[in-house]
């Protein structure tokens, strides 16, 4: 359950009030008719799925109804900043500090274990982005 700072309401609110709207900073080509099918397909269907810093658009659906952007770490779920439409993030994958080494996670109930053996380290290394 995220606690999200709405840059318009100027305070943090519960996640139930918000709705995610996917990757931020997508720009609709200004002249779609002159864009190739492939480029248009990329715009429509292809999205980043980074491990780590991700910029995503949310809407304060049950609050002020405004869209805004979030910089979020997809590995820790930490929200690093939120900013109104039209602004750029101050934290990006390039500027982000070195993250914790991540393990291979399994998705099941109960307690889970991460393969922490040294020989498993290749599995645990970050995928270069």
């Amino acid at each position: 359950m995220f606690h999200i700072f709405c840059p318009y309401c100027d305070e943090r609110r519960e996640e139930e009030e918000f709705h995610p709207n996917g990757q931020a900073h997508l720009v609709r080509p200004a002249d779609p008719d002159s864009v190739s099918d492939e480029a248009w397909g990329d715009y429509l269907f292809f999205r980043d799925n980074p491990r780590g810093i991700h910029h995503e658009m949310w809407v304060h659906r049950l609050g002020c109804r405004k869209f805004f952007n979030i910089t979020r770490d997809t590995t820790t779920y930490e929200i690093l900043e939120t900013y109104p439409m039209g602004e750029q993030p101050t934290i990006t994958a390039e500027t982000a500090r070195v993250r914790h080494e991540q393990g291979v996670q399994t998705a099941d109930g109960g307690w889970q274990t991460v393969g922490a053996r040294p020989e498993n380290s290749t599995l645990n290394e970050e995928t270069p982005s």
Binding site: D37, Y43, T76, G110
Partner: protein, 1013 residues
């Protein structure tokens, strides 16, 4: 039996209040302040369950949430049944009825015992999977039997008479655990001025202080607890939540607490004399900072037959002795690798029972407690451990031997000690669960022989959870954590609180011992249990490593280690240590444990809260709902709305069938006049100089020339060219439009408009606002509609003055109204918008005047039939996000030559969207007029082909048409528009195949004359 194990004095129980309870059909007495577990032990009940897999008798092992065996089914009545209750956490109340969860048909002797006897050699890990997998079809049969034998508790067959709810809480500092660290943390934070919530899962606050031998400020620990809790209770900014388990730690310091409000008093709140009150409550806490002071769980040692009743965790015995005045046996052997456990021997001796020996794995233990034990005459056997317990229904002896922990061998002669109770202590495991719920991995500390929490943003740790065990250090650690948390939340410490003084003790270091070596190999020795609830043995873990399961995570899944209601609270670390030993690795190399919510089971009632019964989901009503109910409407759920589905009439005392009612309503509209409550349609008010430009970008068709007073139908696509919604939009003024959307699309379309305005075109001067609820909408339609309307409106209804797709303002039944000449039935229609508070007046006036025209109310079913007869689509029924306007044959509503590249345009020329053989909307006329095709039925071209057939499309809408006296359907069919007149086939699941002809989508009045009469 009458509390033979109850000591004559001591404990925090109220001996003046005798409570009677029933366990497995037998009545026992207990005292107020008992847990079910302490009362069972007081009464000498050794066997409380049968084990999961081997059906071995099991007794109470622990005194808290880590208890693996004493899992009971609670409830005197069917409706009050609660499964999987830990007897150690259930307060005793008068009339409590509990049964063993495992142990069909009974715990003393059961038909499953043969399994346990054979089990030694025949039930390796994976036994069920390996044995019962073939034939696969029989698994369902096996499973029923195995489950019944295993028993996992059962849910009640009747509905729960109790109520539950949720409370949203906000605080600066949430302190989890009210032991020594939690109490000082809470006090410190509260004194700094922070809003504090302090929760603790036990019946009373105090944690380990409630069974401590130590004194604080010279008084008993319990006195200090009482004083501190009283001070906290007196502070306005503090919320104390006893009997409240912090079960889940979620992102950004969101914590779910489960408070047992009446569960400790009776089966139901009503039984407790608190009818109408909440039985348990889920607190949804958003905390600025969390102080985790959850303490630690003592680990048992793993040795042969360590599951025989009478084997207990050492600290639990102290709890039963000191808090409940119960000595669960006569002669004790304590086997330990640490100093702290010696207190149990001292407690036992002080209770007047015999301590046969303390068996210490260490060579030269010499801490203060060890000295105290020796001084009091207790025999201490060093460099040794209990290798095996004797006895079957109850411990009868302990086989003690000298061991070499490094080489994992026994080194001496076995000594047999007669005893009825074996206490074991293998050290302490911090209760780190909540710290890892969001995925943070704990760290193994070899110096502390335990996992400590990894760093969690917003969380502070205090006391045992980070392996700070000495009481003086724990109290100081809580003070530190409380001050840090308050400061982080913006509250500076006014003055440090005085940490109570405690006598310090010397302790000798704990040795690393998990499994005690046996004279035989693990595989040949009697079972050495690691996870009692899941019957996982050391041999099982060893076998798993031999079979190639190298990560503890895989071992877990193979052996079931750590599954079940206790989630491996007692067994996990021992299991990892054994796997590590077998694999010749260190514990962290085998894996680190991460836990998931919930810490202990939470009832569905508490999770559901008040969102059940008629409050399960909102029901939205139109302003005319009362009339619909009073006039016998059957309702259909459309989103959250309750819409009239049809209005069955009573004919000769019998209520019409739906088929008859819909046929009557359809004919009334086609031949007379009907009325529909269309208030649920989304309505969006659009104002601004760029409103028209915006519409042109968002709709596929043109809006540049729509004049005030005119209405236009529009299609809305996503940018992938697929239809998302449709509706009419009226030009109210040059800069003012009223858009309608589908009922289901109302909110999403408004958000869609805002999305494009806020993110792509903020320069356009336009505002959107929902007026869905503000206006009630009534559709009066049918050949007689004009006559009826003329009686109630001052608007000129002349067909030349008020044309199709015009709107006019006036009054209807004296109420200001906007009337729109739009039609979703193909008949002459007037759609009336009035302010919702006046809707019922207008509706009733229409009926007063409509009687002579037999004005017929109709519902959504008739609306569907009528619109489908006209080939009018419903977005979301005839479309599914993969249908373009072209697929629908609505080329006429696509403005390719509009100047702005509107949403969806570019995608319509992508190769896939431009394909000739896309599924296109067509009409289907069944060859047999009595057939109504199934919606969703697949269409094939050749009925004789072999399965799997080539599917060419499917039916999207299908009804019986009373005016056509035939079934008819809309469908999407590959290349459908070029297949007019062809015969297609619809194979049904019952083996029959329907035939249908591909026809135009407009079944009735193809020249569209009727709506213009």
């Amino acid at each position: 039996m009458s509390q033979n194990n109850r000591l004559s004095q001591g404990g925090r129980i109220d001996r003046s209040r005798v409570l009677t309870f029933t366990f497995n059909g037998q009545q026992y007495p207990g005292f107020a302040g008992d847990t079910l577990a302490s009362a069972l032990l007081a009464n000498g009940v050794d066997v409380v369950n049968r084990s999961f897999k081997y059906s071995r008798p099991r007794g109470i092992v622990a005194a808290g949430p880590e208890e693996p065996n004493a899992i009971v089914q609670l409830g005197a009545t069917e409706a009050a049944q609660v499964p999987n209750v830990r007897a150690t956490q259930q307060a005793l109340y008068d009339g409590l009825v509990a049964r063993s969860t495992n142990g069909w048909p009974n715990v003393q002797r059961d038909v499953m015992s043969w399994v346990g006897k054979l089990g030694g050699s025949f039930m390796p890990p994976g036994f069920y999977y390996k044995t019962f997998m073939a034939p696969a079809s029989m698994w369902m049969t096996y499973e029923k039997f195995i489950r019944k034998g295993a028993g996992l508790g059962r849910s009640p067959a009747e509905s729960d008479p109790d109520i539950y709810d949720h409370l949203n809480q906000h605080c600066e500092v949430l302190v989890i655990g009210a032991g020594p660290a939690g109490l000082t943390a809470a006090l410190t934070a509260a004194r700094a001025g922070a809003r504090v919530i302090l929760c603790d899962e036990q019946e009373e606050m105090g944690g380990s202080l409630l069974d401590s031998r130590e004194a604080l400020d010279g008084a008993s620990a319990a006195d200090w607890v009482e004083k501190t809790v009283a001070e906290l209770a007196g502070m306005e900014s503090v919320t104390l939540l006893p009997r409240t388990t912090a079960n889940g730690y979620h992102d950004h310091n969101f914590v779910t607490l489960h408070e047992r409000c009446t569960e400790h008093l009776a089966d139901t709140a009503a039984d407790a004399g608190r009818a109408g009150e909440v039985r348990s409550r889920l607190h949804r806490v958003r905390a600025e900072r969390v102080v985790l002071a959850s303490g630690s769980h003592e680990r048992p040692l793993v040795y042969a037959n360590n599951d025989v009743p009478g084997n207990m965790v050492a600290g639990a015995i102290s709890v039963y002795l000191r808090r409940y005045g119960v000595a669960p046996g006569q002669r004790l052997v304590l086997t330990t690798n640490n100093d702290h456990a010696y207190r149990t021997a001292l407690d036992w001796k002080e209770a007047g029972r015999e301590v046969v020996a303390v068996v210490d794995s260490r060579a030269n233990p010499d801490g203060d407690l060890v000295k105290q034990a020796r001084d009091s005459g207790i025999r201490v056997i060093t460099g040794s451990a209990v290798m095996e317990a004797s006895g079957s229904q109850r411990v009868s002896g302990a086989r003690v031997v000298a061991i070499d922990t490094t080489r994992f061998v026994v080194t001496g002669k076995i000594e047999e000690l007669a005893c009825d109770t074996i206490a074991s202590s293998g050290g302490y495991s911090p209760v780190i669960h909540l710290a890892s719920h969001t995925g943070k991995r704990p760290q193994w500390r070899e110096d502390l022989l335990g996992f400590v929490p990894g760093e969690v943003k917003g969380m502070h740790f205090a006391g045992g959870v980070q392996a700070v065990y000495a009481l003086d250090e724990t109290l100081a650690d809580g003070t530190r954590a409380g001050a840090e948390a308050a400061q982080a939340a913006g509250f500076e410490q006014a003055e440090a609180i005085a940490v109570p003084s405690v006598e310090t003790r010397t302790e000798s270091a704990t040795s690393a011992l998990y499994q005690v070596p046996h004279e035989k190999s693990s595989l040949r020795a009697p079972k050495q249990f690691v996870d009692l609830q899941n019957d996982v043995t050391a041999a099982g873990v060893e076998l798993a490593t031999r079979e190639g399961f190298e990560s503890i995570e895989h071992v877990k899944r193979y052996t079931a280690l750590g599954f079940g209601t206790d989630q491996g609270k007692l067994g996990n670390i021992n299991g990892m240590a054994i796997a590590a030993r077998c694999l010749h690795r260190s514990i962290p190399e085998v894996g680190t444990t991460v836990f998931r919510p919930n810490y202990t089971p939470v009832s569905f009632g508490a999770i559901v809260g008040r969102h059940c019964g008629e409050l399960f989901d909102p029901e939205r009503y139109t302003a005319l709902h009362q009339w619909h109910v009073e006039n016998g409407a059957e309702f259909e759920d459309v989103g959250h709305w309750k819409r009239p589905w049809y209005f069955p009439r009573k004919v000769n005392g019998k209520t019409e069938t739906m088929h008859d009612a819909v046929a009557r309503e359809c004919l009334a509209v086609r031949q007379g006049v009907g009325i529909l409550d269309a208030s649920t349609l989304g309505k969006i008010d659009i104002q601004g100089p760029d409103a028209r430009e915006f519409l042109g970008r968002i709709y596929t068709n043109k809006w540049a020339k729509l004049a005030p007073g005119r209405v236009r139908y529009g299609l809305m696509c996503k940018d992938d060219g697929m239809l998302m919604d449709d509706g009419t939009t009226s030009c109210l003024g040059e800069n003012h439009f009223l858009m309608t959307t589908t009922t289901g699309g109302a909110a999403s379309v408004l958000e869609w408009l805002e999305l494009w305005h806020q993110t792509e075109w903020p320069e356009l001067q336009v505002y959107f606002n929902s007026v869905t609820d503000h206006f009630a909408t009534m559709t009066v339609t049918g050949p007689e509609a004009r006559k009826l309307m003329a009686e109630v409106t001052d608007i000129d209804l002349d067909r030349e003055q008020f044309k199709f797709m015009d709107w006019k303002q006036g009054t209807v039944a004296g109420v200001p109204a906007r009337v729109f000449r739009i039609s979703f039935t193909g008949e002459l229609a007037f759609e009336i918008n009035v302010q919702a508070n006046y809707a019922l007046h207008v509706w009733k006036a229409l009926f007063a005047h409509g009687e002579k025209y037999d004005l017929t109310p109709y519902g959504t079913e008739t609306m569907h039939v009528l619109r489908a007869e006209k080939g009018l689509i419903i977005a979301g029924q005839d479309t599914d996000g993969s249908v373009t306007p072209e697929d629908l044959g609505m080329h006429w509503a696509v403005g390719y030559d509009k100047p702005f590249p509107w949403i969806g345009k570019r995608a319509l020329t992508r190769p896939d969207t431009a394909r000739e053989d896309r599924k296109q909307l067509v009409g289907l006329k069944p060859k047999d007029a009595t057939v109504v095709l199934e919606e969703g039925a697949q269409i094939v071209l050749d009925r004789e082909q072999t399965i799997p057939m080539t599917m060419m499309g499917h039916v999207t809408s299908s009804y019986y048409s009373p005016i056509l006296e035939s079934g008819f359907a809309l469908a999407v069919l590959k290349g459908g528009r070029n297949r007019m007149g062809e015969t297609v086939y619809l194979p049904m699941s019952d083996g029959t195949t329907h035939e249908a002809e591909v026809v135009n989508t407009v079944f009735f009045d193809p020249k569209w004359e009727r709506q213009n009469v």
